[in-house]
Subunit: 233 residues, 2 copies
């Protein structure tokens, strides 16, 4: 796996302390919501670039502008991969540019990808996010995110490649109790006397116990939506 | 959402009948396992293309070769997105080429992506797979897969954008009881007197009831690993 310096949780804690901010800025670009003057400029480039690459270029410029604007006020950024993936390879390039721009501003990047798969496929997803897939001459760099979100449905072994990456300075946030109404479908089902998401929370604590930085936080965290504050306790 | 002709389940059933085959060929390329002569040729192109694009080109050529070889004997193909994503934008382009090649051979494509997210993000993942994201001049095509795999942890509303795509001729397979040991972590937890995966199976049946093709199969299916044959009953 590609490595990053120190613990992810320490890099995040230091960013929080340095900037006196706990704000994480989400980067979820939607074409129809971008500023008209930006849209106008990139619309003009469709004949040259095609639709996919023009939208991707527009997303990249918009998100990099946001990063520059918030670099002093935000502790980290969280790009949402889905919005970029809609625009194919150019979208993926735009996402990579956004990650690089955040790093240029010394902002940790939590890549919201909600991946999760078994065995070698799980390893491949971790490498896509963190780098380290074999190349002909050297391992390739991947997106070089600092941390990712992952989905736990496939169980503890599916989380293992991401947890292993904590030894290389990466972080992982496991979906635990999400903010949507559908959280009731599985997450709130009672099993063994408690909601399923509490079992996931326990798993998160167990998986993260061995990887704690000097600020006392683990490199393995839980995603818990604040729409259900009672469940956060 | 981008549309495909008829029901996904009918296109798959017709491919099965026409080819007298129920074989689905997985396309999970790993650099270290590809034929030496192919590796040698693409290794020579690293100076010109860089490592990522050389591996991606190698994957594309290998998978297209497999598709040509199995086109008469296989009912469908299932590319695994993770292996391509490791190689960034060139990897994504290679995946798109593989999907196009399968379609050139009239083979339905089940894209193994195991996505799942809420609200607009879920819609974006569906559009990445099936097309239909807004462009400046027209919706873009996405990967144009015939069906995708999705993860159910976020609940019924997270599956909705994929289920909605069945009206546009697409299919969806929901992770239900997977083949790995970690299936015990959540999927086999007992809730309401039965294993959690049986609740997912019931959800799959409910979500798919409204979208059944003329061969009697739904466009919404379940992923059930054959490593636990007793659980398949």
């Amino acid at each position: 796996m590609g490595s990053a310096p120190g613990h992810f949780s320490d890099r995040l804690a230091e960013s929080i302390l340095r900037r006196r901010s706990v704000v994480c800025v989400g980067l979820d670009p939607m074409l129809e919501r971008l500023p008209p003057e930006l849209l106008e400029r990139w619309r003009g480039r469709v004949p040259e670039l095609g639709d996919e690459a023009a939208v991707a270029g527009c997303f990249s410029e918009f998100c990099r502008g946001i990063i520059e604007a918030v670099a002093d006020a935000a502790a980290c950024v969280k790009p949402q991969a889905a919005f970029f993936e809609q625009y194919g390879a150019p979208g993926w390039s735009a996402l990579a540019e956004v990650v690089r721009c955040a790093h240029d501003h010394d902002l940790p990047v939590i890549l919201d990808v909600k991946r999760g798969d078994i065995a070698s496929t799980g390893v491949a997803y971790a490498r896509a996010a963190f780098g380290g897939a074999p190349g002909f001459t050297a391992p390739v760099g991947g997106l070089d995110a600092d941390a990712v979100t992952v989905s736990p449905y496939l169980g503890d072994d599916s989380l293992e490649p991401f947890v292993a990456a904590t030894a290389e300075g990466r972080g992982v946030f496991v979906l635990t109790r999400t903010s949507n109404p559908g959280a009731a479908t599985l997450q709130e089902q009672e099993t063994g006397g408690r909601a399923l998401y509490l079992h996931v929370a326990e798993l998160v604590a167990r998986l993260g116990a061995a990887s704690t930085g000097r600020y006392g936080y683990s490199d393995v965290g839980a995603v818990a939506g604040a729409t259900a504050p009672a469940s956060l306790r």
